[in-house]
């Protein structure tokens, strides 16, 4: 995994996406990263698609059983989570 510390340099921005075709609404993400995801009608969506670095969102991406959730560093395009 990319060191979260490295990406969390001042001003870094992360992109958060949910592949809704994979998501099955378990809501693990919403509980893991409080306030970051909303699960409605059995699908999750990010509350904000661009965020300041937040470790809990990486945890959410690592915990999604369907690997539906991806976090990328906006500047470099590097996938921060989930670990491949």
């Amino acid at each position: 995994m990319t060191e979260p510390g490295a990406a969390a340099t001042a001003g870094a921005r992360w992109a958060v996406t949910v592949d809704r075709s994979r998501c099955n609404g378990s809501a693990i993400c919403a509980g893991t990263a409080h306030g970051r995801f909303r699960v409605e009608n059995g699908k999750s969506r990010p509350v904000e698609t661009e965020i300041a670095p937040d470790e809990a969102v990486l945890d959410a991406a690592e915990s999604c059983p369907w690997e539906a959730l991806t976090v990328t560093d906006l500047a470099s395009g590097t996938v921060l989570a989930p670990e491949q």
């Binding site: 893991t32 059995g42 470790e55 809990a56 059983p65 369907w66």
Partner: protein, 400 residues
């Protein structure tokens, strides 16, 4: 809103008979969907019976599992909750969950499908060799999940009988088992796992346990106690639930006219049938796994006060007519099936992808190889487990 009774009615409402669901649940869902009950241990709790309300309790971070640890909270069984993945809140919970989630993603588990198929075929061979009538619970339903989780985790074959006995006792409801016996069985499980971890540390193998040891020793991601408890949880959760569900699912199919034949005629029906069986089939003897409100929260029009406990059972959401048409009917063709048999929120079952593969392969293989499968005794004579938190047949005599 009905006036509160004092003391609240005692729970469970009656004994669990076979796979029956007490009629009181449906009444409560209509009349008093967030109601007070007196649990066998720890006093009064809120019982939620509606799908949407259960989801709120399971997903809202104002409801805490961690607040139950070490506390005399309302519960089904004597032991006081100790710290484990299912009794932690984020971010502690996330730290542990992340360590195991990679091994249980849908993608990784699909890679195990061929290996699980081999195991299922071996066990069906054993069933055929046993001669008729044979006990399907003993020869297929139990050994399959035990073998699968043991292999994944890295638990040696020769230890499987021991840990099955201990888990059985550790998960007793306490009607026929003393709190001391439950405690002792739990300690035996922890002691056994502690010993196995020492062995693996000296001679690492290519399995989940060695992976977790590495996460502890090289990454300092979890404590020794957390490591031991996590491994025991995976072992216990990985087989008790699935083993009972396999037996119960076969019973469900064989006791309804034409259901088995449908799986025989149409193998493609299996995945959907498994989802419907998961939705419909009771798993535990009652609502438990209390969540404690960290502040006042309104659920279904009721105010749950800070410090009060809510007990949950996913099955109750799965039988809610506002989400599932004819909820009490087992409908293998059900199209929309957003069941919550694996829970909801951060504690959503880690093993769900694995359980699905095991159930699909077990039922699919049995239907293919034993198209004439039927019960060897009257449905009413099938014996059910007693004094156990997880429901299921204690034996399932079949012929083919």
């Amino acid at each position: 809103m009905t006036t509160a009774e004092h003391p609240a009615p005692s729970y469970p409402f009656g004994p669990s008979e076979g796979l029956d669901l007490h009629p009181r649940y449906a009444e409560l869902r209509r009349e008093d969907p967030v109601s007070r009950v007196t649990m066998p241990y720890g006093g009064e709790a809120w019982l939620v019976t509606r799908y949407d309300d259960i989801k709120v309790v399971l997903a809202d971070s104002r409801f805490s599992r961690a607040a139950t640890v070490g506390q005399d909270v309302p519960r089904m069984r004597p032991p006081i909750e100790s710290e484990n993945i299912l009794s932690m809140d984020p971010p502690d919970h996330s730290r542990l969950r992340k360590l195991v989630s990679k091994a249980f993603t849908v993608r990784r588990i699909e890679e195990l499908r061929p290996r699980v198929q081999i195991m299922v075929d071996e066990l069906v061979d054993d069933l055929l060799d046993a001669g008729q009538p044979a006990d399907l619970a003993k020869t297929v339903a139990w050994p399959l999940p035990v073998r699968v989780i043991s292999e994944l985790l890295g638990v040696p074959k020769e230890d499987r009988d021991n840990f099955r006995t201990w888990t059985g006792l550790a998960l007793a409801t306490g009607n026929e088992t003393t709190p001391e016996q439950i405690e002792e069985a739990l300690n035996q499980l922890l002691g056994y796992m502690g010993g196995l971890i020492v062995q693996r540390r000296e001679k690492p193998t290519d399995d989940l346990l060695s992976g977790l040891i590495q996460a502890r020793d090289d990454g300092d991601k979890l404590s020794e106690q957390e490591l031991i408890v996590l491994a025991v949880t995976l072992l216990a959760a990985g087989h008790e639930t699935t083993a009972n569900q396999i037996g119960s699912h076969v019973y469900q199919l064989l006791t309804r006219e034409g259901y088995w034949q449908r799986l025989v005629d149409d193998p493609e029906l299996v995945p959907g049938a498994v989802e419907e069986l998961l939705r419909h089939t009771p798993l535990s003897v009652g609502a438990d796994n209390a969540r404690v409100a960290l502040e006042d929260v309104e659920v279904g029009g009721r105010l749950i006060r800070k410090g009060e406990a809510v007990v949950v059972m996913p099955l109750l959401g799965n039988r809610d007519a506002s989400v599932f048409e004819r909820p009490d009917e087992l409908d293998l063709d059900r199209e929309k099936n957003p069941h919550m048999a694996f829970g909801h929120g951060v504690h959503h079952c880690l093993g769900a992808p694995l359980a699905r593969v095991e159930l699909q392969l077990a039922l699919g293989t049995l239907a293919r190889r034993l198209p004439n499968l039927r019960l060897a005794e009257a449905p009413a004579d099938v014996p059910w487990r007693r004094d156990k938190i997880v429901r299921g047949p204690s034996a399932l005599l079949v012929t083919w």
